[in-house]
Symmetry: C3
Subunit: 348 residues, 3 copies
Amino acid sequence: MDKTNPGNFFEDFRLGYELRHATPRTVTQGDIALYGGLYGGRFALASSAEFAAACGVSPQPVDDLLVFHLVFGKSVPDVSVNAVANLGYAEGRFGMPVHSGDTLTATSKVIGLKENANRQTGIVYVRTLGFNQQGETVLEFVRWVMVRKRDPNSEAPEPTVPETAPFVAPDKLILPMGLNFSHYDPVLAGSPHFWDDYRPGEKIDHIDGMTIEEAEHMLATRLYQNTAKVHFNQHAEAGGRFGRRLVYGGHIISLARSLSFNGLGNAVKIAAINGGRHVAPCFAGDTIYAWSRVEEAWEIADRPDIGALRIKTFAAKDYPCGDFPGDEEAHPHLVLEFDYTVLMPRRF
Amino acid sequence: MDKTNPGNFFEDFRLGYELRHATPRTVTQGDIALYGGLYGGRFALASSAEFAAACGVSPQPVDDLLVFHLVFGKSVPDVSVNAVANLGYAEGRFGMPVHSGDTLTATSKVIGLKENANRQTGIVYVRTLGFNQQGETVLEFVRWVMVRKRDPNSEAPEPTVPETAPFVAPDKLILPMGLNFSHYDPVLAGSPHFWDDYRPGEKIDHIDGMTIEEAEHMLATRLYQNTAKVHFNQHAEAGGRFGRRLVYGGHIISLARSLSFNGLGNAVKIAAINGGRHVAPCFAGDTIYAWSRVEEAWEIADRPDIGALRIKTFAAKDYPCGDFPGDEEAHPHLVLEFDYTVLMPRRF
Amino acid sequence: MDKTNPGNFFEDFRLGYELRHATPRTVTQGDIALYGGLYGGRFALASSAEFAAACGVSPQPVDDLLVFHLVFGKSVPDVSVNAVANLGYAEGRFGMPVHSGDTLTATSKVIGLKENANRQTGIVYVRTLGFNQQGETVLEFVRWVMVRKRDPNSEAPEPTVPETAPFVAPDKLILPMGLNFSHYDPVLAGSPHFWDDYRPGEKIDHIDGMTIEEAEHMLATRLYQNTAKVHFNQHAEAGGRFGRRLVYGGHIISLARSLSFNGLGNAVKIAAINGGRHVAPCFAGDTIYAWSRVEEAWEIADRPDIGALRIKTFAAKDYPCGDFPGDEEAHPHLVLEFDYTVLMPRRF
């Protein structure tokens, strides 16, 4: 019996399948530090246990995107190890905060399947759930990926494309228990701009750029136990489509998020991932810049201290974002559109 | 008085010498996370505190090879800082599990000495022991290294070559206190293959490859406080034998171990290191592939839940292992042969 | 209202201004491990909790230079994000030891201002203080940086250059509570040389060299949440003064400190930073070597177990330090002069 696992091909998925992913992963202070070294994040809630406690959340919650990457990583060996491309995200919502010492597991349910016209590949839609050791949901999201078929001639299932919401409705956002911005200190947090100061349509250039190194994106992707082959093997990729190792798309999301501190410094908590698209691949040597547009500003019922902003952050490579690339039309340097909802303190 | 330490040369060793190594090292969650980022390991016992607890071991033990590298690293300044080559290992056995917070120390005893015919170098055999802060042995192993002589004309000691066992006998393996695989969950662990499914002579290609970067192998080697000069100094190595920094051999062992998850996913615990040989040097830019052969399958007395497999894992560079390079004869791409014994759950 | 923060220019500083820096940062075991992987330090007090406890300090204090970098990093967005050069340090003194779990904050007071003759830039002198979550001072230091003016024609303040002490007087050094070297174990610590063995004027070549990689200095600088642009953005720096990303000067200090173990292995605690000068910029690919000169040897009142050494460590790039470059005059390979005071065990 062959012991190595080739992963699932398009034919292996059936609508309604529930995949229970390996392997559980305990998150620690070590992961938080390495994540910090990889992106240099400064959002105060994830940077300081004391600041988090002053905002009513103690122990300190782990950075939301680190949780996203870990749960995503769990799903790779079952869902996307034979994927050609990670196409999109929807209905991403953070639940119970994750703390150092928690152990994460994940499952995915197949909610859509659609063969492509060329019959070489098909699109697989899954709803992935991440859990802590108490079985509480820490994150859920839908993603769809283009997966190779084992055999182009094999029969395809009836096409099913799930409908997904354009964004997570503000009344569906989950606020961490105890979160309270009544005594929020904007000087310590590093930004004078509160929720009240942002307007839909407003654009913010995050100015700085960060160059990617091979060692960094591989360290990150392995930290997430993401096993997608294209990120790690130069010997194989030298003969592949790009001749180079591809950077995990989530690495770009985290870089853009970190750059967005300059302009969105009080967006200390991501509550939802409404959508996302990896517009173009990234490689070591690329310098990532980012800008954001405020899509919507929502009050939170009965919470005079907290507001929500729906943000779209765009990342471009080797192109400063002062002219907001990708806003009006496709832009040759654009690599990412990421649509998410953040919680911010309100003026009081 | 000269304050810098040139390290020991072949003449400085005497049979029976006991070397007490500096410097004690406290192992933490941080080391575990960085080790994870460097290799991307997914073996469930080291990945999840909850999984470990469900297997009866709590607190969670630190990855066995991280312990190996740390103890090995302690021995470098005294044993091999002037070594030309690390020649082999034998009689490696893990004892008390190491936990986050433990402090490791190490000693080595000189058990063999043999000058080489060219009189420039000699082989030093040591038995190295690693201890925790209670003085309990966490690891022991024999290794032998080729060490430069200070002066080719200096007198050589009587040659003494210790006899070492070809492998650690199964009745000598130390099971971690409490380890119990009766409720082992193979889906969570990520592999359906139990001890019962493996047969001596079986070969497993681990398929994937991982490319080495300078920043990665140096981060790893410094994490282990391994001070061997050849890994860090491009200015000096540019004029050396290879013109490049050499990758610490243990880095290759950990890469191969991590790749071996695909096919040996339930080999969650290394109990012994029977032998090992760094067949050829590795450098940044090399892509490491691996395959394994099952050498022996042993029952463990009175343990219907646990079996042991003696495994030989081969690593090759820039060469996928589908044809099992190095099995029949020397192979130009082979870089490592590593012979070790793992504990695996049995079907119940 | 523009949400992005361009940072302060020379005109924005006023004598006496107090800057309260963002963002608080909790230090953990993870930071300590990553710091270890970046520099490979072996000083026993920072390497081993057990060794620290045997020296009377428990819980184990965090490496002094990691504390320095974190506090320094806090000050960058307010003080030096528009700096051309980091010119010097003085009157650096470590206070309360920092432990894993502590949260650091920082403030800076403007203590000097002097426009340069070209009117393009000016020198800003600040006294920076780092605090733990109890408000206790963990570190203070003076530094001065050359900062761009927003407008060369803008009026300059009256020039004020603060007087700083040439070194921190030995009776001003703060010993960690409980520190006691009466039972110091030099074999475990890795060096036989006590305070008593060093003489002012003595020079020590630290022999080894360490080559810098882009991924490493960026991981380090982000770990410190240091946001200076020149370290991260190859796309912008390609058109800049050097065509390359500049390595954070503090990275060189930590490399030199780590190399200095060979010869100063018992200099387990830095008590003061008397001065420092980044003589030349460093880049990825440079190999750092170091040597040290003992400047002064001081007894500590009523402490027969502890002595202080004022040390000047010099770092050179791509140049082994056997002939002590920079001792007599400027040397083309010299990159750093760092003047600091260490605590060492005395013979008893």
